[in-house]
Symmetry: D2
Subunit: 226 residues, 4 copies
Amino acid sequence: MTHTYPYFGVNFKVYPNTIGEGGLELAKTVERVHEETGANFVVTPQIPDLRLITSETDLTVSSPHVDPVSPGRGIGKVLPETLADAGIAGATINHAENRDTLTDIAKKIDRCNEVGLDSSVCVDSIEMGEAVAAFDPDALIYEKPEDISTDRAITTTHPERVERFVEMIESTNPRTKVLVGGGIRTAEHVRAAFELGADATGAASAISTADDPYERLTEIAGALPE
Amino acid sequence: MTHTYPYFGVNFKVYPNTIGEGGLELAKTVERVHEETGANFVVTPQIPDLRLITSETDLTVSSPHVDPVSPGRGIGKVLPETLADAGIAGATINHAENRDTLTDIAKKIDRCNEVGLDSSVCVDSIEMGEAVAAFDPDALIYEKPEDISTDRAITTTHPERVERFVEMIESTNPRTKVLVGGGIRTAEHVRAAFELGADATGAASAISTADDPYERLTEIAGALPE
Amino acid sequence: MTHTYPYFGVNFKVYPNTIGEGGLELAKTVERVHEETGANFVVTPQIPDLRLITSETDLTVSSPHVDPVSPGRGIGKVLPETLADAGIAGATINHAENRDTLTDIAKKIDRCNEVGLDSSVCVDSIEMGEAVAAFDPDALIYEKPEDISTDRAITTTHPERVERFVEMIESTNPRTKVLVGGGIRTAEHVRAAFELGADATGAASAISTADDPYERLTEIAGALPE
Amino acid sequence: MTHTYPYFGVNFKVYPNTIGEGGLELAKTVERVHEETGANFVVTPQIPDLRLITSETDLTVSSPHVDPVSPGRGIGKVLPETLADAGIAGATINHAENRDTLTDIAKKIDRCNEVGLDSSVCVDSIEMGEAVAAFDPDALIYEKPEDISTDRAITTTHPERVERFVEMIESTNPRTKVLVGGGIRTAEHVRAAFELGADATGAASAISTADDPYERLTEIAGALPE
């Protein structure tokens, strides 16, 4: 496992201010908050910018995508070996904006294991989490598609679901970490996530489109368990 | 139009020796042959390596993929703006290993135009080329999926098809350039492509898996029209 | 060409009252209006109900889907030969709720031709219509996805677009028929479609969810050119 | 659960002799063997032929496909309610020739439950079977894509895998039935499947392309447990 827990994940998606130098600046802000507070962060930049962030920061960097392919043919594919070579620590699988077949989820987890990438698989129900746990991923990201880009964090609206999700993992595959996402915007949301038993949480728009990401991240850093 | 014609394209796909430093070395070899011979080349590296190649070489660099998205949400997508920011000159659309819907082909060409990327759309028949010409792409890549990774270059097996393809473009959209691909391995194949009226040609496995890419590229450079 | 023009198409989609006997009742209503008014109709039932409608009515029946496959393997595929065997007259390709790759559009049109099915390909712009015209389909269905299931018929909101679409087809492939759809609900919409040069028009929700489909269809029948 | 176990499944796929009357003849042959031997069969015809088979035979009929949709929009979709209305007993999900996303597998199983269809989900590994078991499907179809249309039945080549698969289901979700498929051609294969603990087995090409399906089915009927 290449990620250090607990952590707060910052997902750049393809927000306009996360392109190239803009993304690097955001990553540098994350790094500064890490250095000032000691809080762990994982950043997920845009794919063409991954090497820029790994070469210019000491952050743990994850890829927003990976393909279930091996070296050879396959134009435009994101090869696990290339991510590992770029110093990437992990990859997101089955995101709500990019659903995978069950077959590809299994292959992607296998390929990540083979090259030393942490596999983090998105699921939106306890059953789906239990299903993916059968493949022994490093982490599950539990988030409801309808919460994404809102301020309706599941930690506030349905805390009991998070607790049940955490219990399910503890009883089926305790090695697998749990990240709670979707609508996480405030330090309160973050604190609640960890109190409910999550190992990590994170956000995309709440940071990437914040007026002052430094301030927002500093508040959040204070909500992470030591 | 950002590409200089005529040119020979070198597509890295995800061949094992094109990862990171391996890809950079291959790109440097291409650059050396360009400097020694004056022949134009376009390289298409792996997506996570695009910035590495644009920052370390003066080559024209194209992306093997682009998504039909705009800045905002969309995890793991390859944003046209990010490619442009990275100094990329163009993008491949509708490759045989990654087919696009008609709707996405139209959107991708539009988005490429908006950010100043050359759009090169793969097609495998004259009718399909005529269809895509309606969207006014910068280039069409005419290649048969069954020829890819073989030595059965269409320039040798069916030269008349290349001629008819070139005539079709000249009569419908003469602005659009024609690249012929699929099974191109030798200087003879390359020479034939240009004699048949192509504006460009290229290869993937023939270079990326060659014992001596420098030698192979130098031979090919000699076959490009001045 | 198996369809008789001009016609009004009634698309059942998967609306609840179009299942089995419900769909047959709706088809019988269409047939009754045809017999009373002489107006031509084409119905597009649900796939498992296609044979029910062809065996119990004399209507022209089209399939809402077809796959680009040939007899053999391919579980769950809708084989063109099976549609032809069931007395189906045509098939819808590339609907906005089910987009096809460019490659599959070409193959589907070819396969329809081979077995004697009319191919009707959905497009949402003049350029896309021009593109698909290169494959010589029997008909193009011009409709904007955003108009579907609304009452904003393009014939009212943007009549000039319909005129330009019709002109484009007349100059590129006059053999191909033009159906205008999306938000068509009233006799006025239908009359306008034909005045603008369309060969056919049609609706889904406006008929399938109408309180009195007989009344609605009778009004529309009066708006069809003789 | 609508299927009677043990059974032998006959999948028509889109083989040429299973179209319309050809498919009905094959189904009648299956029915005759059932009547003569008492062996249970489930047939999976082509989608446009489903009602033909349910109306003309007393066989248990399954659909080769179902879509994760509810009544309403959704052109060309196979609606669970329409299958139930047609007298269909179940549906195949996630077949190797038609892979589903994890999200769709979950939705399809739910929708099948809501309308009273047996859900049978294809998987190709024990882990994948364990994963899908989390959604409590009625049955899992364990078959390797590479065995399909061959004579390399997993019951012969890797009997221990079948045993482990059966054990896995017994310990995680004993309610779920296990069907073993892929390369099943002979009475020996069938006998082995049941001896290894399977609840059902089946074939496509071995029956659909047999010179004498009646003879083949009669032999197989003799291999089914009473």
